[in-house]
């Protein structure tokens, strides 16, 4: 792996100092390829998140990068013609879940 790819307590990501992209993190289940899973991480606040589609529900999980605990946070529905969403760290330990018809700030 190139040196800028980091593995921090199970969260594998690349960073340019400001932006980062998460390649993988612990999941509650073995995920099939091309499932519409999305990740985000906020290493400064030691948090990472993932969304996993289930039916037309988006399940959001939060991962503490210090305690290495994975917690189920919430479940949000999304339209059948759309994607389960995209995650953006809010920078204060919260995360933004952006879907086609909504933007949710989840503390």
């Amino acid at each position: 792996m190139p040196p800028e790819v980091q593995d921090d307590h199970g969260v594998t990501y690349v960073s340019d100092g400001v932006r980062n992209y998460v390649f993988s993190m612990p999941s509650p289940e073995l995920l099939p390829f091309n499932s519409q899973v999305a990740y985000a991480a906020d290493p400064a606040n030691r948090q990472a998140w993932e969304i996993i589609p289930s039916g037309y529900q988006t399940q959001l999980f939060q991962y503490n990068m210090d305690s290495q605990q994975l917690l189920f946070k919430t479940q949000v529905s999304y339209p059948y013609y759309s994607s389960p969403g995209v995650l953006y760290p809010a920078g204060n330990g919260a995360v933004l879940l952006v879907q086609e018809n909504s933007v949710l700030l989840i503390p």
């Binding site: 190139p2 800028e4 690349v14 340019d16 100092g17 400001v18 932006r19 992209y21 390649f23 993988s24 073995l30 995920l31 099939p32 390829f33 091309n34």
Partner: protein, 147 residues
């Protein structure tokens, strides 16, 4: 603010420059070349637009995904149905992935661009595995690099 559909024809991919000053929208019109539209995020006006030509021997130039580097808001990296290209404004850097000697990239999904490397997902994995095949390419001022 407008929707991507109001700004570009058949939008396929969007990406922000790292400093947030430009939003790039790549579209694949049914009858025509793939097109990049750049919006200034202060005025929300389109300030630059160009077409991405099809690679020799390929039917179309369709855009698959895009990424922006951390240090150059006027630079855009594009993956198409057959290649990976780097543009500074509307000027194509000399070496795309094919010209640099890499085999044709088909539907390569770009994930992230650092200062020297482009990360992507080839879109397939070995049999009986999960996850995806992470790939990376080096790049420099001349384009995709083999070093």
């Amino acid at each position: 603010m407008q929707t991507a559909n109001a700004i570009a024809t058949a939008p396929q991919a969007m990406v922000l420059s790292a400093d947030g000053s430009y939003l790039y929208i790549g579209g694949n019109p049914l009858n025509g070349s793939a097109t990049i539209v750049r919006c200034n995020t202060v005025s929300w006006a389109v300030d630059l637009q160009w077409q991405v030509p099809a690679a020799t021997g390929n039917y179309g130039s369709g855009i698959v995904s895009m990424a922006t580097p951390p240090d150059s808001p006027q630079t855009l990296i594009i993956s198409t149905y057959s290649d990976i290209l780097i543009y500074d404004r509307d000027q194509h850097r000399l070496f795309d992935a094919t010209a640099a000697g890499f085999p044709a990239f088909q539907g390569h999904r770009l994930l992230f661009a650092g200062q020297k490397r482009i990360y992507g997902n080839l879109g397939y994995t070995a049999p009986n595995t999960t996850g995806f095949c992470l790939t990376w390419l080096n790049y420099d001022a001349f384009g995709i690099s083999t070093f």
